[in-house]
């Protein structure tokens, strides 16, 4: 296992051991971000490939004081955005100043048993819901609430201000809460019987 300094030096020299370590440490987070933003597994795979290749080309310009993983997220975010533009060039970007989506489904599913909440189906439902959000909101939720980046890191990855990042995250949470509440509504009704 290479430490950070040796890993960076190895990556710059295209050392296969450094590449393997870098890939293993980061492929999951790059894939989750791409899948959340794009919704399609094949597209997410394309972004993973493009991200690592771009990272290797640009590794000479990486500033050692920065976080390697955050830098990689930013490359992945930009590749996912480019692919989105190719897939949906006509989709208008929503305005951050639009009014907030107010909660309409008021079913308390928060106390459902863990095995119901942590199922594969819920995982797929959540990712489908994320990828159906307005484009600008998807990465905010993935980066903050799945990948647990700080607001500053999340803003940096997206190239936006921290306040804009908070607005996007809040909208994403409200919309996802609504969609999951609709999904869980029947299960809560069954539990109550």
């Amino acid at each position: 296992m290479l430490d950070d300094t040796k890993l960076l030096a190895g990556l710059r020299q295209r050392d296969p051991q450094a590449f393997t370590q870098f890939f293993d440490a980061n492929v999951d987070r790059v894939y989750r971000l791409a899948l959340g933003m794009l919704g399609q597994r094949a597209d997410a795979e394309e972004v993973v490939q493009a991200t690592f290749l771009s990272a290797f080309e640009a590794i000479g310009r990486f500033e050692p004081h920065a976080q390697l993983s955050t830098w990689l997220y930013r490359i992945a975010y930009n590749h996912a955005l480019m692919l989105l533009r190719r897939r949906h060039p006509e989709e208008p970007l929503p305005d951050d100043s639009e009014s907030l989506p107010l909660p309409a489904t008021l079913v308390d599913w928060s106390t459902l048993p863990e095995d119901q909440l942590l199922s594969e189906e819920v995982h797929e439902t959540l990712f489908a819901a994320i990828s159906s959000l307005p484009e600008r909101l998807r990465a905010a939720f993935v980066l903050r609430d799945i990948e647990t980046l700080s607001t500053a890191e999340c803003a940096h990855v997206q190239g936006i201000s921290e306040s804009a990042c908070k607005v996007r995250l809040h909208r994403a949470r409200l919309l996802l809460r609504e969609r999951l509440s609709q999904y869980f509504r029947e299960q809560v009704a069954e539990e109550a019987l």
Binding site: V27, D28, L106, S110, H123, D145, K166, R173, R177, L180
Partner: protein, 82 residues
């Protein structure tokens, strides 16, 4: 604090970014508003579900496939030659 204001401040409340006075107002509202309490509970659970997604990793076969594809492009090896 009204329900609309609570919704407006919900993420900031959950993320402990509200100042003391607003946070107290939010708590007072939540103590008397069942609907907003449900919105808070389910939003907090959504965030925990989000954290839980980190246990989903790229599966073995796909991981290997991605690794090979990138490795081949990186080291300029034609496909099929290791």
């Amino acid at each position: 604090m009204t329900c609309e204001e609570l919704v407006h401040y919900l993420s900031a409340y959950i993320d402990h970014e509200l100042d003391a006075e607003l946070s107290r107002d939010a708590q007072e509202h939540l103590a008397t508003c069942q609907r907003c309490q449900v919105v808070l509970n389910t939003t907090q659970r959504l965030i925990l579900l989000g954290h839980d997604q980190r246990r989903y990793v790229v599966s073995g076969a796909l991981r290997e496939n991605l690794y090979r594809r990138i490795e081949q492009s990186l080291y300029h090896k034609p496909a099929g030659q290791g």
